[in-house]
Protein backbone atom coordinates (compact mmCIF):
# COMPACT_ATOMS: atom_id res chain seq x y z
CA UNK A 1 0.00 0.00 0.00
CA UNK A 2 1.02 3.56 -0.49
CA UNK A 3 0.51 6.90 1.15
CA UNK A 4 1.05 10.29 -0.34
CA UNK A 5 1.86 13.12 2.06
CA UNK A 6 1.57 16.76 1.04
CA UNK A 7 3.51 19.20 3.19
CA UNK A 8 2.84 22.93 2.84
CA UNK A 9 3.98 25.98 4.75
CA UNK A 10 1.13 27.23 6.92
CA UNK A 11 -0.77 30.32 5.90
CA UNK A 12 0.93 33.34 7.37
CA UNK A 13 4.41 31.84 7.04
CA UNK A 14 6.30 33.73 4.35
CA UNK A 15 7.24 31.46 1.44
CA UNK A 16 10.13 33.23 -0.30
CA UNK A 17 10.56 30.39 -2.80
CA UNK A 18 6.91 30.59 -3.82
CA UNK A 19 7.26 34.36 -4.13
CA UNK A 20 10.32 33.96 -6.38
CA UNK A 21 8.36 31.56 -8.60
CA UNK A 22 5.46 34.00 -8.75
CA UNK A 23 7.82 36.79 -9.84
CA UNK A 24 9.38 34.56 -12.49
CA UNK A 25 5.98 33.61 -13.90
CA UNK A 26 5.03 37.28 -14.09
CA UNK A 27 8.31 38.11 -15.82
CA UNK A 28 7.59 35.35 -18.36
CA UNK A 29 4.31 37.03 -19.26
CA UNK A 30 1.89 34.85 -17.30
CA UNK A 31 -0.44 37.50 -15.98
CA UNK A 32 -2.84 36.99 -13.17
CA UNK A 33 -0.77 34.72 -10.92
CA UNK A 34 -1.77 36.20 -7.60
CA UNK A 35 0.12 33.85 -5.37
CA UNK A 36 2.39 30.79 -5.40
CA UNK A 37 2.95 28.50 -2.47
CA UNK A 38 5.57 25.80 -2.83
CA UNK A 39 5.36 22.60 -0.83
CA UNK A 40 6.52 19.04 -1.12
CA UNK A 41 5.04 15.65 -1.84
CA UNK A 42 6.38 12.58 -0.07
CA UNK A 43 5.34 9.12 -1.28
CA UNK A 44 5.57 6.27 1.18
CA UNK A 45 5.58 2.62 0.18
CA UNK A 46 4.13 0.91 3.23
CA UNK A 47 3.62 -2.57 4.61
CA UNK A 48 0.00 -3.73 4.25
CA UNK A 49 -2.09 -2.80 7.23
CA UNK A 50 -0.23 0.42 8.07
CA UNK A 51 -2.86 2.77 9.42
CA UNK A 52 -3.47 6.37 8.52
CA UNK A 53 -2.94 7.18 12.20
CA UNK A 54 0.61 5.80 11.93
CA UNK A 55 1.30 7.90 8.83
CA UNK A 56 -0.01 10.95 10.66
CA UNK A 57 2.37 10.22 13.50
CA UNK A 58 5.22 10.06 10.96
CA UNK A 59 4.11 13.44 9.66
CA UNK A 60 4.02 15.04 13.08
CA UNK A 61 7.29 13.59 14.29
CA UNK A 62 9.42 13.92 11.16
CA UNK A 63 7.88 14.63 7.77
CA UNK A 64 6.51 18.05 8.66
CA UNK A 65 7.49 20.66 11.21
CA UNK A 66 4.24 21.63 12.88
CA UNK A 67 5.63 25.04 13.84
CA UNK A 68 5.68 26.16 10.22
CA UNK A 69 4.04 23.45 8.12
CA UNK A 70 0.76 21.60 7.73
CA UNK A 71 0.24 18.24 6.06
CA UNK A 72 -2.42 16.13 4.42
CA UNK A 73 -2.34 12.37 3.95
CA UNK A 74 -3.84 10.37 1.07
CA UNK A 75 -3.88 6.60 1.59
CA UNK A 76 -4.20 4.32 -1.43
Amino acid sequence: MKARVHVMLKNGVLDPQGEAVRHALGAMGFDGVNGVRQGKVIELDLADGTTEATVKEMCERLLSNMVIESYTVEMS
Binding site: V13, L14, P16, A20, R61, L62, N65, V67, I68
Partner: protein, 222 residues
Protein backbone atom coordinates in the same frame (compact mmCIF):
# COMPACT_ATOMS: atom_id res chain seq x y z
CA UNK B 1 34.69 22.46 31.99
CA UNK B 2 33.93 19.29 30.06
CA UNK B 3 32.23 19.91 26.72
CA UNK B 4 30.87 17.43 24.19
CA UNK B 5 30.59 18.33 20.52
CA UNK B 6 28.08 16.30 18.53
CA UNK B 7 29.18 15.24 15.05
CA UNK B 8 26.66 14.39 12.33
CA UNK B 9 27.41 13.35 8.76
CA UNK B 10 27.73 16.76 7.12
CA UNK B 11 28.76 18.73 10.21
CA UNK B 12 31.58 21.07 9.24
CA UNK B 13 32.06 23.37 12.23
CA UNK B 14 32.55 20.60 14.78
CA UNK B 15 36.31 20.97 15.01
CA UNK B 16 36.12 24.78 15.08
CA UNK B 17 33.69 24.55 17.97
CA UNK B 18 35.95 22.07 19.79
CA UNK B 19 38.93 24.43 19.34
CA UNK B 20 36.91 27.36 20.72
CA UNK B 21 35.89 25.32 23.78
CA UNK B 22 39.48 24.15 24.29
CA UNK B 23 40.81 27.70 24.02
CA UNK B 24 38.43 28.60 26.86
CA UNK B 25 39.93 25.82 28.98
CA UNK B 26 37.50 22.98 28.30
CA UNK B 27 38.19 19.32 27.88
CA UNK B 28 36.29 18.31 24.74
CA UNK B 29 34.78 14.95 23.76
CA UNK B 30 33.56 14.46 20.22
CA UNK B 31 30.32 12.46 20.12
CA UNK B 32 29.09 10.65 17.02
CA UNK B 33 25.44 10.90 16.02
CA UNK B 34 24.89 7.15 16.43
CA UNK B 35 26.18 7.19 20.00
CA UNK B 36 23.45 6.56 22.53
CA UNK B 37 25.10 8.13 25.53
CA UNK B 38 26.76 11.45 26.32
CA UNK B 39 29.96 11.36 28.39
CA UNK B 40 29.51 11.39 32.17
CA UNK B 41 30.15 14.61 34.09
CA UNK B 42 29.40 16.80 31.13
CA UNK B 43 29.02 20.56 31.59
CA UNK B 44 27.82 21.49 28.13
CA UNK B 45 26.86 20.00 24.77
CA UNK B 46 27.72 21.84 21.57
CA UNK B 47 25.68 21.17 18.44
CA UNK B 48 27.82 22.51 15.61
CA UNK B 49 27.15 24.14 12.27
CA UNK B 50 27.21 22.41 8.94
CA UNK B 51 24.75 20.58 6.76
CA UNK B 52 23.77 17.56 8.81
CA UNK B 53 22.37 14.83 6.57
CA UNK B 54 22.69 17.17 3.61
CA UNK B 55 19.84 19.36 4.90
CA UNK B 56 17.52 16.68 3.47
CA UNK B 57 13.81 17.02 4.29
CA UNK B 58 14.36 20.18 6.39
CA UNK B 59 17.54 21.62 7.87
CA UNK B 60 18.24 19.75 11.09
CA UNK B 61 15.18 17.49 10.91
CA UNK B 62 16.98 14.19 10.43
CA UNK B 63 19.73 15.04 12.90
CA UNK B 64 17.08 15.97 15.46
CA UNK B 65 15.81 12.40 15.33
CA UNK B 66 19.23 10.73 15.56
CA UNK B 67 20.09 8.58 18.61
CA UNK B 68 22.41 11.15 20.20
CA UNK B 69 19.79 13.88 19.94
CA UNK B 70 17.50 11.95 22.25
CA UNK B 71 20.34 12.22 24.76
CA UNK B 72 20.91 15.90 24.04
CA UNK B 73 17.21 16.52 24.59
CA UNK B 74 17.27 14.54 27.85
CA UNK B 75 20.38 16.50 28.94
CA UNK B 76 18.58 19.80 28.24
CA UNK B 77 15.38 18.55 29.90
CA UNK B 78 17.23 17.86 33.13
CA UNK B 79 18.70 21.36 33.13
CA UNK B 80 21.96 20.77 31.26
CA UNK B 81 23.66 23.44 29.20
CA UNK B 82 23.67 23.22 25.42
CA UNK B 83 24.62 25.55 22.61
CA UNK B 84 23.48 25.09 19.02
CA UNK B 85 25.19 27.18 16.39
CA UNK B 86 23.80 27.61 12.87
CA UNK B 87 22.78 24.09 11.82
CA UNK B 88 23.00 23.26 15.53
CA UNK B 89 20.33 25.90 16.21
CA UNK B 90 18.19 24.36 13.47
CA UNK B 91 18.64 20.95 15.10
CA UNK B 92 17.70 22.22 18.58
CA UNK B 93 14.62 23.95 17.14
CA UNK B 94 13.62 20.71 15.38
CA UNK B 95 13.97 18.75 18.63
CA UNK B 96 11.67 21.23 20.35
CA UNK B 97 14.33 22.13 22.93
CA UNK B 98 14.07 25.66 21.57
CA UNK B 99 10.87 27.20 20.16
CA UNK B 100 10.33 28.29 16.57
CA UNK B 101 11.93 27.25 13.31
CA UNK B 102 14.48 28.53 10.81
CA UNK B 103 13.06 29.28 7.36
CA UNK B 104 14.79 29.94 4.06
CA UNK B 105 16.42 33.40 4.02
CA UNK B 106 13.93 36.00 2.83
CA UNK B 107 16.28 36.96 -0.02
CA UNK B 108 16.65 33.27 -0.98
CA UNK B 109 20.44 33.56 -1.06
CA UNK B 110 23.04 31.82 1.03
CA UNK B 111 24.73 34.59 3.01
CA UNK B 112 28.32 34.37 4.21
CA UNK B 113 29.59 37.55 5.85
CA UNK B 114 30.35 39.14 9.18
CA UNK B 115 27.36 40.90 10.71
CA UNK B 116 26.76 43.10 13.73
CA UNK B 117 24.87 41.61 16.66
CA UNK B 118 23.26 43.50 19.50
CA UNK B 119 23.75 41.81 22.85
CA UNK B 120 20.20 41.86 24.20
CA UNK B 121 20.72 40.17 27.55
CA UNK B 122 23.71 39.52 29.78
CA UNK B 123 21.60 37.45 32.17
CA UNK B 124 22.75 34.04 30.97
CA UNK B 125 25.92 31.99 31.16
CA UNK B 126 26.71 32.65 27.51
CA UNK B 127 26.60 36.43 27.49
CA UNK B 128 27.96 37.30 30.94
CA UNK B 129 31.14 38.46 29.26
CA UNK B 130 29.26 41.14 27.34
CA UNK B 131 27.14 44.08 28.38
CA UNK B 132 23.62 44.73 27.17
CA UNK B 133 23.85 47.09 24.22
CA UNK B 134 27.26 45.85 23.09
CA UNK B 135 27.51 45.37 19.34
CA UNK B 136 29.73 42.44 18.39
CA UNK B 137 30.91 41.35 14.96
CA UNK B 138 30.27 37.68 14.27
CA UNK B 139 30.18 35.80 10.95
CA UNK B 140 27.05 34.23 9.57
CA UNK B 141 27.02 31.51 6.90
CA UNK B 142 23.56 30.15 6.21
CA UNK B 143 20.78 29.67 3.70
CA UNK B 144 18.06 29.01 6.26
CA UNK B 145 18.49 31.45 9.11
CA UNK B 146 15.20 33.29 8.94
CA UNK B 147 13.90 32.79 12.47
CA UNK B 148 10.17 32.22 12.66
CA UNK B 149 7.78 31.69 15.54
CA UNK B 150 4.20 32.82 16.05
CA UNK B 151 3.67 36.30 17.47
CA UNK B 152 2.79 34.96 20.89
CA UNK B 153 6.07 33.02 21.09
CA UNK B 154 8.11 36.02 19.94
CA UNK B 155 6.42 38.18 22.58
CA UNK B 156 7.11 35.55 25.22
CA UNK B 157 10.80 35.31 24.25
CA UNK B 158 11.12 39.08 24.40
CA UNK B 159 9.12 39.38 27.64
CA UNK B 160 11.14 36.67 29.39
CA UNK B 161 14.49 38.17 28.36
CA UNK B 162 15.18 35.11 26.22
CA UNK B 163 16.41 36.91 23.11
CA UNK B 164 20.19 36.72 23.42
CA UNK B 165 21.21 38.47 20.20
CA UNK B 166 19.52 40.49 17.47
CA UNK B 167 20.97 41.59 14.13
CA UNK B 168 21.90 45.25 13.80
CA UNK B 169 20.94 44.98 10.12
CA UNK B 170 18.62 42.00 9.57
CA UNK B 171 20.21 39.92 6.78
CA UNK B 172 17.68 37.10 6.45
CA UNK B 173 14.19 38.28 7.37
CA UNK B 174 14.26 36.84 10.89
CA UNK B 175 11.25 37.90 12.94
CA UNK B 176 12.14 40.55 15.51
CA UNK B 177 15.68 40.64 14.00
CA UNK B 178 16.33 37.60 16.18
CA UNK B 179 19.77 36.00 15.80
CA UNK B 180 19.85 33.90 18.97
CA UNK B 181 17.42 32.71 21.63
CA UNK B 182 17.50 31.01 25.01
CA UNK B 183 15.46 28.21 26.56
CA UNK B 184 13.12 29.04 29.43
CA UNK B 185 15.85 28.21 31.99
CA UNK B 186 18.40 30.16 29.89
CA UNK B 187 20.74 27.19 29.77
CA UNK B 188 20.23 26.37 26.10
CA UNK B 189 21.31 28.90 23.49
CA UNK B 190 20.57 28.63 19.79
CA UNK B 191 22.11 31.15 17.43
CA UNK B 192 22.62 31.41 13.69
CA UNK B 193 25.90 33.41 13.80
CA UNK B 194 29.17 31.57 14.43
CA UNK B 195 30.99 32.79 17.58
CA UNK B 196 33.52 29.96 17.13
CA UNK B 197 34.61 31.65 13.88
CA UNK B 198 35.48 34.83 15.76
CA UNK B 199 37.39 33.30 18.65
CA UNK B 200 41.03 33.65 17.59
CA UNK B 201 43.09 36.57 16.29
CA UNK B 202 43.73 34.48 13.19
CA UNK B 203 40.02 34.53 12.40
CA UNK B 204 40.12 38.26 11.81
CA UNK B 205 37.93 38.96 14.84
CA UNK B 206 37.71 37.83 18.45
CA UNK B 207 34.27 39.06 19.50
CA UNK B 208 33.07 35.48 19.99
CA UNK B 209 35.78 34.65 22.52
CA UNK B 210 33.93 36.17 25.47
CA UNK B 211 31.06 33.73 24.98
CA UNK B 212 33.27 30.67 25.45
CA UNK B 213 35.34 32.25 28.20
CA UNK B 214 32.23 33.18 30.17
CA UNK B 215 31.03 29.58 30.04
CA UNK B 216 34.15 28.16 31.66
CA UNK B 217 33.46 30.06 34.87
CA UNK B 218 29.80 29.52 35.48
CA UNK B 219 28.71 26.05 34.43
CA UNK B 220 27.47 23.40 36.78
CA UNK B 221 27.07 19.83 35.54
CA UNK B 222 23.56 18.40 35.11
Amino acid sequence: MHAAVVVFPGSNCDRDLAVAFEAAGAKVSMVWHKDTKLPDGLDIVGVPGGFSFGDYLRCGAIAANSPICNEVKAHADRGGYAIGICNGFQVLAETGVLPGALLRNAGLKYICKTVGLNVVTSQCAYTEGYSVGDVIDIPIAHHDGNYFADDETIARLQGEDRVAFTYTDNPNGAKGDIAGILSANKRVLGMMPHPERAADAGHGGTDGQALFRALSGVLTPA
